[in-house]
C-alpha cells in the first residue's frame, strides 16, 4: 500500500522537509506571530487559522513587524515582489512561504 506523501496532504504547499520539520516551523511561525502581535495565546492556532482580515491586530504596520521578526528569527531575506496579501491568508500559507525561503535561499 502506497503511503500518502506530505506533499499530497498539504495541497498547494511546497514540498519542504519532514513532518517534524513542518510541525516545528509551524510552531515557530505561530510563536513569531503571537509575540509580535502581543496575543495572549496562539496555542490553538492551526495551519488553517485565517490571519489577514481575521486577526484585528494584523494591520499593515503589523505585517511589516511580523516580516521583520521572521527575517531575523529565521535568517531569511524577503524581497518586495515575494509578498502579497495571499502570503498572510493563513498560518499555513505564511509557514509555507518561510519554508520556501529556507529551502531555496537566493
Amino acid at each position: 500500500m502506497r503511503q500518502r506523501s506530505l506533499t499530497e496532504t498539504n495541497a498547494g504547499a511546497q514540498p519542504s522537509g519532514s513532518a517534524d520539520e513542518q510541525e516545528q516551523l509551524l510552531a515557530q511561525v505561530k510563536s513569531c506571530l503571537g509575540t509580535t502581535l502581543q496575543l495572549d495565546s496562539v496555542e490553538h492556532w492551526t495551519a488553517d487559522t485565517r490571519l489577514l482580515g481575521s486577526v484585528p491586530e494584523l494591520d499593515s504596520m503589523a505585517v511589516v513587524t511580523v516580516l521583520l521578526s521572521m527575517e531575523e528569527y529565521f535568517g531569511i531575506e524577503v524581497e518586495d515582489d515575494e509578498i502579497s496579501a495571499e502570503t498572510f491568508e493563513t498560518v499555513g500559507t505564511l509557514s509555507a512561504f518561510v519554508a520556501g525561503k529556507l529551502h531555496h535561499p537566493h
Partner: protein, 268 residues
C-alpha cells in the same frame, strides 16, 4: 532613583544626557540607543535598565543622539559617524566630570552595531559589550525600515505599489524621504547600509541577549548560526519577554533587565 539630566555640548550641538548614579563609581555603563521608532518604543526599558543599574551602584547613562529625542539637530541631517563621535565625547565627559575610568557598552538593536563601531577604537577604555537583540546587517535593516512605507499599499490593496528598490533610488535622487514619520536622509541611509556587526573587538567580554515569547526561550536559529561563525567568543542567552522595540502597545522584558543587571552589576 531619580534620573540626572543635563546637556552635553558637542560640535555646537546640545545633546540631552540622562544618567543614573553618575559620580558614584569609576565604572559606568553607556546605553547605545536603537534607531528611529525602535528608540521611541524602547524608552521605558532604557530608563528601567538605567535605574536598575544605578540602584546596584553601577552608574548608567544614555544620550539623545543628534537629530533624536530632545537633542539639537534634524533627523534628516543625522549621521552614524557623528553619533559615534558624540558617544566618544560622552565617554570623555564621564571621565572628566564623573571620575569614570572604564565604560561598558550596552547596545540595543541597531545600537549594537553603533556600540561595536565605538568599541573598535582601541584608544577608548571600553570594558564589556552587551548586545540586546542585535541588528547584524545594516543593508537588510535599511530595507526593513523602507519597507514600513511600502506595506501600507500592499495590504490595503490600493494600486500603485512602491518597491523598496524604487524607494531607495528615490532616496538617492532626492536626498531625503519620508518613512513612517521619519525624514530619512540619503547620507544616513548609505552609512547604515554599509554597516554590519563584524570585527568584534578583543574586549574582556561580549554578551548577546535575545528576547523571545514562549515558555522556553532560546536563541533564534539565525543568531545561533551568526554567533557560531564569529572568530571571537560571545556569551549568549535568551530570556522571556516582549519585543518591546517593535510592539504596538508598550512592551516590557523584565527578565532582560534582570539578566543585564546581573552581568553588568558586579563580578560575573
Amino acid at each position: 532613583m531619580k534620573a540626572q539630566q543635563r546637556f552635553l555640548l558637542h560640535d555646537s550641538r546640545r545633546l540631552l544626557l540622562t544618567g543614573f548614579g553618575l559620580g558614584t563609581a569609576s565604572r559606568a555603563v553607556i546605553i547605545v540607543p536603537p534607531f528611529a521608532e525602535e528608540l521611541n518604543k524602547s524608552r521605558r526599558m532604557l530608563a528601567l535598565q538605567g535605574r536598575a543599574l544605578g540602584a546596584v551602584g553601577v552608574p548608567c547613562c544614555y544620550l539623545d543622539l543628534s537629530g533624536t529625542g530632545d537633542s539639537d539637530g534634524e533627523f534628516s541631517e543625522a549621521r552614524c559617524s557623528r553619533w559615534i563621535d558624540e558617544l566618544s565625547a560622552l565617554l570623555h565627559c564621564l571621565r572628566s566630570d564623573y571620575g569614570v575610568e572604564t565604560v561598558d557598552l550596552l547596545g540595543l538593536r541597531f545600537g549594537a552595531i553603533v556600540a561595536n563601531e565605538l568599541a573598535r577604537d582601541a584608544a577608548l577604555p571600553i570594558g564589556r559589550l552587551v548586545f540586546w537583540q542585535p541588528v547584524t546587517n545594516g543593508r537588510q535593516y535599511l530595507k526593513q525600515f523602507l519597507r514600513t512605507r511600502v506595506m501600507a499599499g500592499v495590504i490595503s490593496g490600493s494600486g500603485g505599489r512602491e518597491s523598496v528598490t524604487e524607494l531607495r533610488t528615490a532616496l538617492a535622487t532626492t536626498g531625503a524621504l519620508e518613512v513612517a514619520g521619519y525624514r530619512l536622509g540619503d547620507e544616513l541611509a548609505c552609512e547604515i547600509e554599509a554597516l554590519e556587526l563584524r570585527d568584534l573587538p578583543a574586549v574582556p567580554a561580549i554578551h548577546w541577549i535575545e528576547v523571545h515569547g514562549g515558555a522556553e526561550p532560546a536563541l533564534s536559529p539565525a543568531s545561533r548560526r551568526f554567533v557560531q561563525g564569529l572568530p571571537v567568543s560571545v556569551e549568549t542567552r535568551a530570556v522571556q519577554g516582549e519585543p518591546f522595540w517593535s510592539t504596538v502597545e508598550i512592551g516590557l522584558a523584565p527578565a532582560l533587565i534582570e539578566a543585564t543587571t546581573q552581568i553588568l552589576g558586579g563580578v560575573e
